[in-house]
C-alpha cells in the first residue's frame, strides 16, 4: 500500500499500522491465538485442545541461572568459515564425531 504524497510528507510511513489505515478485512490481532470458537448465539466454546499448555521441565539440581558472573568477560565465537555457527558442514562433522546415530 502506498499512501498519498501528503501523508508521505507527514512521515505517515513511520506510524504504526492500525485497522483505520487500511480497508476492511484487515485483522490486526495481538499475536495470540484463539482458544475456542464462537457460537451463533454469541457465546464462546473453549476447545481445550486449542488452549496452550506450558509444561515446565523438572528443575531439581539445575544449577544455571539467568546470569553469568561479571568476572568473566563476554565470550564470542571465532569461526573459520564465513557462515560461522550456521555452517552445515561443521554441524555434520560434529554430528559424525560425537553421535552419528540419530
Amino acid at each position: 500500500m502506498q499512501p498519498t504524497r501528503v501523508l508521505q510528507a507527514l512521515r505517515y510511513r513511520r506510524l504504526r499500522l492500525t485497522t483505520k489505515d487500511v480497508n476492511k478485512g484487515y485483522y490486526k490481532g495481538t499475536g495470540t491465538g484463539s482458544t475456542g470458537r464462537h457460537t451463533k448465539h454469541g457465546g464462546y466454546i473453549i476447545e481445550w485442545d486449542k488452549v496452550r499448555t506450558y509444561v515446565c521441565p523438572p528443575l531439581d539440581g539445575f544449577k544455571l541461572t539467568p546470569f553469568v558472573t561479571k568476572n568473566m568477560s563476554r565470550t564470542y565465537g571465532s569461526y573459520e568459515t564465513k557462515l560461522g555457527p550456521k555452517d552445515p558442514a561443521t554441524y555434520l562433522a560434529r554430528w559424525k564425531s560425537e553421535n552419528g546415530l540419530d
Partner: protein
C-alpha cells in the same frame, strides 16, 4: 392438534418437576429453614399493626436515635464479640509452598536496591551454543521464574510505595530478557543449521538418511586418515573446547554462587 394435546401434559410435567426434589439435591435437609429458635421467633407485642404498613421506616429518626421501630427477631439475642487478634490461632502456612518462589527473599517483601543490583551479566549466544536442548529448555524456565520474581517485587513496591529500586529492577530484567533472546537465537540458528545439514548429508556418501541400516558409516576407520580428512572440523571442535575450558576456571573463581554458570559444561551432549 398434536401440539395442543401436548400442552396440558407439558404443563403437568413442569409442575411435577418443580414439586419433586431434584436428584442432584441432597435430601439430608429436613427443615426449610434453620431450626434455630431466634430465627423462627415472631414477636407479638402491643401496638403491633395487624395490617401491613407500607411505610417501612415510619417513626424512625436519626436525630432522636430511635432505632428501628419494630423490634427485630434477634433483638434480644447477644451479639457475638470479635476475638482479639492475639487470641486468634496462628495461621499455618506451608513453608515449602510453590508460591514462595515468587519472592526473592522470604523475610522481606522486596529486596533493597543494592541487593537487586547484585546480578551478573546476561548469557551470550556463543556461551549458549555449547548447551544441550534440555539445558536451554530448563534455563528458559529459570529465566521465566526470575522474571516472575521481578514482576512480583515491582508490583509490591508500587503497591506499598516503597520507593527506589525501579531502575535496578529494570536492569535486572533486561539482563534476563537478553538471556532469553539469546536462547531463542541459538535454538533458531541450530534448527536452520540442522535443516541445511540434512541437505548436505543427502549428498554425503557416508550418511544414510533412509532409515535402513546405520545412519553413519565411516568410510575410513583408520584414525590417522580420519584426522587428515576432518582436520578443519577437529580444529573447530577444539576451539569450542578451549572456550569452555576458559569459562570454567573463571566461573569457579567467583565467590558469588548465585551467578556462577554451571561448571558442568555439557560439550559431549548431542545437539541433535
Amino acid at each position: 392438534m398434536a401440539a395442543a394435546a401436548m400442552r396440558p401434559s407439558m404443563g403437568a410435567l413442569g409442575r411435577i418437576s418443580t414439586s419433586t426434589p431434584s436428584p442432584l439435591r441432597p435430601l439430608t435437609q429436613t427443615a426449610s429453614l434453620s431450626t434455630t429458635a431466634a430465627l423462627l421467633k415472631r414477636h407479638k407485642y402491643r401496638e403491633a399493626r395487624v395490617y401491613r404498613d407500607n411505610s417501612k421506616h415510619r417513626g424512625e429518626s436519626a436525630i432522636h436515635r430511635s432505632g428501628t421501630r419494630w423490634r427485630l427477631s434477634m433483638s434480644d439475642e447477644p451479639l457475638p464479640r470479635p476475638v482479639p487478634r492475639d487470641k486468634l490461632p496462628a495461621i499455618e502456612t506451608d513453608p515449602d509452598h510453590g508460591l514462595w518462589e515468587f519472592f526473592q527473599n522470604r523475610s522481606m517483601v522486596v529486596n533493597s536496591p543494592p541487593e537487586i543490583a547484585k546480578h551478573g551479566r546476561s548469557w551470550t549466544a556463543e556461551e549458549l551454543r555449547h548447551k544441550s536442548w534440555d539445558d536451554l529448555h530448563r534455563l528458559w524456565w529459570v529465566c521465566a521464574k526470575e522474571r516472575n520474581r521481578i514482576a512480583t517485587a515491582n508490583w509490591e513496591r508500587n503497591k506499598s510505595g516503597l520507593g527506589f529500586g525501579e531502575a535496578e529492577m529494570r536492569e535486572r530484567d533486561n539482563a534476563v530478557r537478553q538471556t532469553m533472546r539469546s536462547i531463542k537465537h541459538v535454538l533458531t540458528e541450530r534448527f536452520y543449521t540442522w535443516e541445511d545439514a540434512i541437505k548436505v548429508a543427502e549428498k554425503d556418501p557416508e550418511v544414510d538418511l533412509t532409515g535402513n541400516g546405520p545412519a553413519f558409516t565411516p568410510s575410513n576407520f583408520l584414525e590417522d586418515s580420519d584426522v587428515a580428512a576432518t582436520e578443519g572440523e577437529q580444529q573447530a571442535a577444539e576451539a569450542t573446547e578451549e572456550a569452555v575450558e576458559k569459562a570454567e576456571p573463571a566461573a569457579a573463581a567467583t565467590p558469588e554462587s548465585a551467578t556462577i554458570p554451571s561448571s558442568q559444561q555439557q560439550t559431549d551432549t548431542p545437539r541433535l
